[in-house]
Each structure stands twice: as C-alpha cells, then as structure tokens.
C-alpha cells in the first residue's frame, strides 16, 4: 500500500525502455480511462464548468464570491484546519497502533486486524448515533471522568469542536492504520538491530531508521485521510451540523437550496485544487524521501 495516493508505484519505477514494447498493451488502460472519462470526468467537468458561466459569457465572479468573501474564506480555512487536525491526530494515534498491530503475530494479529476493519462496515449514521450516546452528559465518557474524579459535574461534549474532531478520527482512523500497518509490516527487524549495534539509542533509531523507512505509509495514510476528511459531507453534518460550516456544506447549500451552480462549482473547484495539490505535494515528498533513503 506504499505510494498509495501518489499512484505510480514507489518501489520500482518501470524501466522506461519497456514503455515502447511494440504491441498494443497500452490499450489495457483504455477501458478504465474511457469509463472514468465518460462517467466521472465528463459529468463533473460539465458541472464544474458552471463555475465560470455568468449570465453573459465567461466570468470569474463565482471565484470572486468564494475567495472574496471573508465568511467563505473562513469556511475554507475551517475545513482545511479540521481535515488537518483529523489527519494529524489519526497519524499520531494510528502510527503506534499500526506499529503494535504489525508486531503481533499469528491468530492475535488476524483478530486485531479484523477489529480495525469491522468499524468500516458499520454505517456512519449508526456510528454517530453511538458516538453521541458516548458523549452525552450521562454518557460513558462523563461517567468515567466523574468517577475518576477528574471533573465534578458532567461536561458538555456533544456537538463541540472536540467531539467533531474525535468523531471524525473515529470514522477515518482505519484508513490511516491500514496503509501504515502494511508498510511497517515490511520493515525488516534487522534494520533495527543494525542501528542498535551502531550505538543508536531507541529514539535515534526511530528518527533515523524507522521513520524514513515507513514514510511512504505515513504519506499514503495521511493523504487519504486528509482527502476524505476535507471532502466529507455526511460525517461533519451529523457530528456538529451548521455550527461548523465546511466546504461540502456550502456546496450542498449552493446546489440544493440556492440552485446557484456558479457558487457551488467554484467552491468545488477550489476544494479539488487544494486536495490535488496536497496529493501531488505528498507524492513528491515520498519520492524525494525514497531517493534520499536509497530505497
């Protein structure tokens, strides 16, 4: 799962001379490209083209409305920082979890792996219902806090920014753990031994050996969690509603309530550009790290 979003395989770039094998195998990509071109790119392109359609000819008015409005700039900023926070926490929590998961063996690993996988199969609606039940004033979280004496009275968790972030981490964490897990799994224990015999302390070993080697997994997991968090629509709607507006919610309003395709499409384009640049940046990052790491 390394090089995930960056697409082209990181491990072994195809030898360029193979590119021109004088047969028709390039056609293998054709069905998928045609399909995605017609079913995905074309309809989306037509919709997004409306971002520059004005009453009379082409206009950048839609972008002016999105980027020129402090409120919408705030929404974009909020969406990005939310996705960033979710990604960062998922990484910080997911990395050690994936590490421990990869280091267990046998039946235990299969069991734990299934436990990471299971939540993915439960509808997001059900999960948010479960989360709100946990977060209630009389919920488990408050019960724990009060009984351990950390707080005197119940704290409000539901529909706070904190519960939004925690909830989104809950929903998207498996998308971080699984790519990390597959990369850490391939990590050869001998590297660690070698580092240890060279006198490196555990922290140095981690920073100089483990971290660079698992970087493809970090970038893959982070870029996918970031992409799906920033585009998420149902999840933040259920976790906090309109008190924390995201780009997706603005698009929903523009397309459904206002039928203002210029606004909605402009917002969608802004988001696509941001997401794509992050993906390209991460793919670039992986590549340069791999070249530096000599792998």
């Amino acid at each position: 799962m390394s090089g995930v979003l960056s697409g082209a395989p990181a491990a072994r770039p195809a030898r360029s001379r193979l590119r021109f094998e004088g047969d028709m195998r390039g056609l293998m990509a054709l069905p998928a490209l045609l399909f995605m071109g017609i079913v995905f790119a074309l309809p989306l392109g037509l919709l997004l083209a409306k971002s520059v359609q004005g009453a009379d000819g082409l206009t950048l008015n839609g972008y002016a409305r999105v980027l020129g409005d402090a409120y919408y700039r705030g929404v974009i900023w909020d969406s990005l920082t939310l996705a960033f926070r979710v990604t960062l926490i998922s990484l910080l929590v997911g990395y050690p979890a994936a590490y421990a998961l990869a280091r267990t063996g046998g039946v235990m690993q299969v069991l734990l792996f299934s436990l990471v996988f299971l939540p993915l199969t439960v509808s997001i609606i059900v999960k948010t219902f479960g989360l709100t039940i946990m977060f209630r004033r009389e919920g488990i979280l408050n019960w724990l806090l009060i009984n351990t004496g950390l707080t005197d009275g119940p704290i409000r968790f539901v529909f706070t920014e904190m519960s939004l972030v925690i909830g989104m981490v809950n929903v998207f964490l498996p998308f971080m753990i699984l790519p990390l897990y597959s990369v850490i799994r391939m990590l050869d224990g001998r590297y660690l031994d070698a580092a240890a015999t060279l006198g490196a302390g555990p922290f140095t070993t981690f920073r100089r050996v483990v971290l660079p080697l698992t970087m493809p997994g970090i970038v893959a997991g982070s870029s996918i969690v970031f992409a799906i968090s920033v585009a998420a629509y149902v999840t933040p709607g259920l976790l906090i509603g309109e008190r924390y507006m995201t780009m997706s919610m603005v698009m929903a309003k523009a397309f459904l309530n206002f039928r203002d395709y210029q606004l909605g499409s402009a917002m969608a384009c802004v988001m696509l550009v941001i997401a794509l640049s992050i993906v390209f940046a991460s793919s670039f990052l992986t590549r340069s790290l791999e070249q530096r790491g000599g792998r």
């Binding site: 960056s6 395989p9 050690p96 199969t121 629509y233």
Partner: protein, 263 residues
C-alpha cells in the same frame, strides 16, 4: 526504553481498538432494549425492534440491492482498475503518475457534487434506469480504493514472472491470470473489501440516483429512521455487524485473513 516503547504502542493499540469499537458496541445493547428511545444502558430485554425489521418494508430488498451494487461495482472496478494499473506500472502508457492520480481523484470530490453531476449527465444522455446509474456511479466511487491497493501490490510484483509464463506457453492474458492474479490476490482482496464497504455505505452519491424501485441500504435506513426514529436502526446495525463478521470468516476461509492482512 525500546521495551517501554513497545508496551506503550501496545497500550495505544488497545485503546484505539476500544475507541473504534465502542460506538458500535454501544448500539448493539440498545437494539435489545424494550424502550422506544435510544437510552443507554438499556432497561430490559426485548426483540421488538428485530420484529420491526421484518415488518419494515424494503430493508431486506435494499440490503440485497446494495450487496449487488457493491459486488458488481467492485468487480468492475477490479477488472478495469487492474488492467489500468498494470499499464501504469509497466509504463505501457505515458504519464502514469498523472493517470493514477486521475483514477484516484473521485476521493477528493464530495459525494453530493458527484451525485448531482451524474444525475444531470445520466438524464442528459437519456439514462433513466436507476440500477444502471447507481452501478456506474458506484464504479466511480470504488475505483480509487481498488487503484490504490492494486497499484501498491503491483509495485511489489515481479513482472518477469509474466514473461516467464509467456515463455512457457501462456498467452499474455493467460499469463496475467495464472501468475499475476494469484500472486497479488491479497491486494485484490483487501482492495475489494475496501471498495465493497465504501459502495455499501455510500449515501451522498446514491441519494441522487436511487429511484423508487432501486433503493440502496443506507438510503432505506435513513428513510426508515425518519419514518420511525426508534431503535430499529440499532437492530439493523447489529445484524450488519453479525453479517460482517460472517463475511470476514468467509474471507478467512477463501484467502486467509493473514494473507489479506499482508497488503
């Protein structure tokens, strides 16, 4: 210190698993609650919400439809995506990295935008069949997940094996089938599981494409919830969890979860 780190990461893993499972685990007892509200902990035991499912028209049909759409769209993505991924990895086409990004880009589009775009395009070309429209859209939704796992698996695959099989008398397609497919099967399975789940749980794209005869499970569930906001939903969720565990067991039988976990 190293041991400390190991213990710490094991503790974090345990906490993470509790955290991931908790919201689901809470919903399960509620499904057996006699109360009409989502009260936790439940105050008794009853199967009334399960009986309610049997009465709730359409949930089973929706479950079957979602299974079909998820299964078929995953299969189509798998076929098209794998062929495309091979062409990318082998450099049969120029601009492989760009093509790969294109194939994974539906991930970055909010489902709602995709849904509206596809609804309009479908009507534009006269496609009115809900089943077909859903299927096409779900192939788009599942494609990124297939692409990412298959590309990663192919990166670790030695294509000389395909050449070797050809030299031993297999045509190119036969060589792919007999050598490439068995060797990246774990990647296929985990990619397919991801894709299946993403399709199965898709709400924002489907909502624009479902019609009265073809309603997928998430749509039907939300519908059900709006028509009777009671723990029937919890009962359905519990059944889904049980079905998932069964599916995981089947996967274990088919390929072995251990191999699956390998990618």
């Amino acid at each position: 210190m190293a041991t400390a780190a190991r213990i710490l990461s094991a503790i974090i893993l345990a906490l993470v698993l509790i955290f991931l499972i908790m919201p689901i685990a809470i919903v399960i007892p509620i499904s057996f609650s006699p109360s009409t509200i989502f009260s936790f902990p439940p105050t008794g035991f009853s199967l009334r919400w399960y009986e309610n499912i049997r009465n709730a028209d359409g949930i089973l049909r929706a479950l079957w439809l979602s299974t079909q759409i998820a299964g078929l769209s995953t299969a189509i993505s798998l076929l098209l995506g794998t062929l495309c991924a091979i062409a990318i990895v082998r450099g049969f086409i120029p601009g492989g990295r760009l093509v790969a990004t294109f194939m994974t880009s539906p991930l970055m589009i909010p489902g709602l935008v995709l849904g509206i775009a596809m609804l309009q395009a479908a009507r534009e070309i006269g496609l009115r069949d809900g089943y077909a429209a859903l299927l096409l859209a779900h192939v788009v939704v599942t494609m990124p997940f297939i692409m990412r796992t298959v590309l990663a698996s192919l990166a670790l695959f030695d294509f000389a094996m395909v050449d070797a099989a050809r030299m031993l008398g297999c045509s190119y397609p036969a060589a792919l089938w007999r050598v490439l497919v068995p060797n990246i099967l774990p990647g296929f399975v985990s990619g397919a599981l991801f894709a299946f789940i993403v399709s199965f749980d898709n709400y924002p794209v489907s909502i624009f494409l479902v019609d009265v005869r073809t309603k997928t499970l998430p749509i039907q569930l939300l519908n059900q919830l709006e028509m009777s906001p009671d723990p029937t939903l919890a009962a359905v969720a519990t059944i889904m969890v049980v079905l998932t565990i069964l599916a995981l067991l089947v996967c274990d039988r088919l390929v072995g979860l251990k191999r699956m976990a390998a990618v």
